[in-house]
Amino acid sequence: MKNIVVRNTIQTPIYQQIYDQISSQIMNGDLEADQMLPSIRTAAKELRVSVITIKKTWELLEEQGLIYTVQGKGSYVRGYTKDDLDELKLEKIKDSLKAVIESLKSYNVSKEKMIEIISSIYDAL
């Protein structure tokens, strides 16, 4: 497992930070199907977070169908077809947009204005 960064200075809970990074690595194909994840305790030690936090992360990954666990052996990345991954990515995009739209709604921004903002930011990137 590579390139996981945990920050104590941001508001996102640590288990969520780790989940987000591993799930995007699975979706991007950086972690391959049937690749074994480190044990919960080893991951905790290496990321310097508590065992309970990693347990929660692994449970969430399993719940979301991203990994599977073989009793007494360990957890592995689930294999995906391209369609599965596209669907998962779409779900993820929807989730993050939902949060943005909700916060814009609280500023009373209209739907047309929202689309305009998104389009102008997109063009600027």
Partner: protein, 283 residues
């Protein structure tokens, strides 16, 4: 299984009472024990280990009653207090004395750890740095296959690098799922890095004892304007005011959907500091 289970532990002194302490630690995890100086951390540890006699309550360790199986329990505990015994003796001499108490002593394992920690057994205890002294004490505990390490303020007096090393060592020790670690500290950042469970003691009473993640979820840090303070004052555990407004701590369940002030995740420090103040008090 719980490695430690304490029920209604009470110890009365003339000026201080350890009041009805309940806590338990599941096997294979790290619990940090936090509280101000004088809150009762050392008294709790000494009383639960029968080093000082308790007035009431039950203590069971590894599922055994401490009154019935004290010797068998203690042969599986490594206890590290702040005091170094025999500072003028060499490690070799102290080890010789120490191992005579333990049937389970594993000389091979002991030599492995000495090597791993770069401990020179011909040196005198007082020639070692504080961090190396701790590693030596932990070596002794691990060499008699202690299943429970109890450390009283192990990180105090250590520089940040040595402290970080020690916390990493704790996580390495529990990697095998067999060993449990209970350590007291007043430095909450020690716990942010490695503790699974946190127990917070204040004035001889347990304020919180749960997993660290749950503890942090239970509280929210709030800040807002003076006007907003009036709305929320009664619900705050404590707050401080400044020229911009106020900062305070609230229980997550006491938040209302209509609250307009900013809400954020607290650190363990925030939880300890605000809980130490009286309700509604001002710093």
């Amino acid at each position: 299984m719980n490695s430690i289970e304490i029920k209604n532990l009470t110890k009365r002194y003339k000026t201080f009472t350890l009041d009805n302490i309940n806590l338990s630690i599941p096997k294979g995890y790290i619990m940090g024990f936090i509280g101000e100086n004088g809150a009762g951390k050392t008294t709790t540890i000494k009383t639960m280990l029968n080093i000082t006699k308790r007035d009431a309550g039950q203590v069971s360790i590894f599922g055994q009653d401490i009154d019935k199986d004290e010797i068998s329990i203690k042969s599986k505990i490594g206890y590290v207090s702040g005091n170094m015994f025999y500072p003028k003796k060499t490690l070799k001499e102290v080890t010789k004395y120490y191992k005579s108490f333990y049937d389970e002593w594993d000389e091979g394992l002991y030599l492995d750890y000495l090597n791993k920690f770069n401990l020179d057994s011909s040196k005198r205890i007082d020639e070692l740095s504080k961090g190396m002294q701790l590693k030596y004490l932990i070596t002794l505990a691990l060499s008699h296959h202690a299943e429970l390490l109890i450390l009283d303020e192990p990180t105090s007096g250590l520089d940040p690098v040595a402290r970080d090393n020690l916390l990493e060592l704790f996580q390495t020790i529990i990697e095998n799922e067999e060993t449990t670690i209970f350590f007291s500290t007043h430095i909450t950042s020690d716990l942010e890095k490695c503790a699974d469970y946190v127990t917070f003691i204040k004035d001889g009473r347990i304020i919180e004892s749960c997993s660290k993640d749950d503890l942090i979820d239970k509280y929210r840090l709030v800040n807002g304007t003076e006007k907003e303070l009036l709305e929320v004052k009664e619900r705050l555990i404590a707050f401080k005011t400044n020229s911009f407004g106020f900062n305070g701590l609230i229980k997550t369940i006491d938040l209302k959907e209509t609250d307009s002030f900013k809400v954020g995740q607290p650190s363990l420090d925030d939880i300890m500091i605000y809980n130490t103040l009286h309700k509604g008090g001002i710093l």
